[in-house]
């Protein structure tokens, strides 16, 4: 009986290091690569901690959070074709059969916005020049650079290139450079490599984090749209839940296929 609940033996010391950094959060971010006239940040809101999703609705469409009318997002013809081919776990087209969800089928990284929909926690670690987001699900992490602009021609990657700034009590994250291999949600909505994300993260109160995401992807959607998720501060220690393809395939054989086909009498 393998125990795949792995503690963050490597990450926790890092958390300890960054905890000391968090004590000095009133300093301005390093301005080495910023423009000379960039506004000086005098207050950094404390967003640190581990956060677990509340509710976890499968779609980012604010008018259809459960994904029961997923074709109502304003998709381009390119995106609609991809969406119709998707066989997702949630929403109106939810299925156990011939699943082609890249996470279930290949253990692909879920992508930044889909990660917000899983029941596993993420942690925010703030330092003067960079904010780190650590995700329990599949052990992913990403930096949000506070001290530079985007590269002029970023590579297309699973996590993209994220830069951030503080606006009052909100961390505003701007991300480009994403590949088009992930879904934006749990109901199979696609995106292109032109996706431009704006995440606005703020602490509503001591124990509540609000994440508002704006999707701007002219190749896939005819107009931008914005969704929101809420998170509660968690006292549970951060863990790692990895995605193992062999475990996923074993589960598929033992449960998914059995629950799909008509059983023999």
């Amino acid at each position: 009986m393998p125990n795949c609940k792995l503690r963050l033996n490597i990450i926790l010391p890092v958390i300890a290091i960054f905890s000391s950094i968090l004590q000095a959060q009133t300093v301005a971010p390093a301005a080495s690569a910023k423009k000379q006239d960039a506004p000086k940040v005098t207050h950094v809101p404390d967003l640190s901690g581990s956060w677990a999703v509340v509710g976890g609705t499968p779609s980012w469409d604010p008018s259809d959070p459960r994904g029961l009318k997923p074709d109502e997002l304003p998709m381009t013809a390119w995106a609609l074709e991809k969406f119709k081919a998707a066989r997702p776990p949630f929403g109106a087209n939810a299925t156990f059969e011939a699943v082609n969800d890249p996470v279930q089928k290949y253990c692909d990284p879920p992508g930044i916005t889909r990660l917000y929909g899983y029941p596993w926690q993420f942690a925010l670690l703030q330092s003067p020049g960079v904010v780190y987001m650590l995700y329990e699900f599949t052990g992913l992490w990403r930096p949000i650079w506070l001290d530079r602009e985007h590269p002029k021609s970023p590579d297309s990657t699973w996590m993209g290139d994220s830069i951030g700034r503080y606006e009052g009590d909100t961390l505003v994250i701007d991300t480009i450079g994403l590949n088009d291999k992930t879904w934006i949600d749990q109901v199979g909505h696609p995106h292109s490599d032109a996706l431009h994300l704006i995440e606005r993260i703020r602490r509503v109160d001591q124990d509540t984090l609000e994440v508002i995401v704006t999707f701007d992807d002219p190749k896939a959607y005819t107009k931008p749209f914005t969704g929101k998720r809420m998170f509660k501060r968690s006292s549970s220690p951060m863990e790692v839940t990895l995605c193992s393809l062999s475990e996923m395939q074993s589960f598929d054989d033992e449960v998914m296929k059995t629950t799909t086909v008509t059983p023999k009498k």
Binding site: M1, N3, G56, T241, T259
Partner: protein, 129 residues
């Protein structure tokens, strides 16, 4: 071995369905409006990703033993709900609630991140919510 199987149709099935949506594969293969109570003997408990699995030998109404596979949440999420890898072991007598497969297979869904159906092991209830 006690060996009965009960099925309860829930008027509040949609409520339960919404509370179990966190399984990575969704719930479309299961009848979330139905709760079946399995009364049998544990043959294995696999504490593993993506979902913990319990195999239970359950006698049906004809006296035939059926091998049920009951799905729970991932180990990290089960731990947060008070379970451990030692919560079940082969030979344990269990009374377990589950949402059965729609296709009639002897598979069921009993737990996700925010909800675990009732599991009584050798007369003692495991944490559920």
């Amino acid at each position: 071995m006690k060996s009965k199987l009960y099925t309860l149709y829930l008027a509040t099935g949609l409520l339960l369905a919404s509370s179990l949506v966190s399984a990575h594969h969704g719930t479309s293969g299961y009848d979330m409006e139905k709760v079946t109570t399995l009364n049998g003997t544990v043959t294995s408990f696999n504490w593993s990703n993506p979902h913990c699995l319990v195999r239970i030998d359950v006698k049906d109404s004809k006296g035939d033993v059926k091998d049920w596979v009951v799905e729970l949440a991932a180990p990290t999420l089960m731990t947060r709900n008070g379970w451990t890898k030692d919560s079940l072991k082969p030979g344990d007598e269990v009374v377990a609630e589950t949402h059965p497969a729609k296709n009639g297979a002897t598979t069921g869904l009993s737990g996700a991140s925010t909800s675990i159906l009732k599991f009584v092991v050798n007369g003692h209830a495991l944490p559920f919510r």
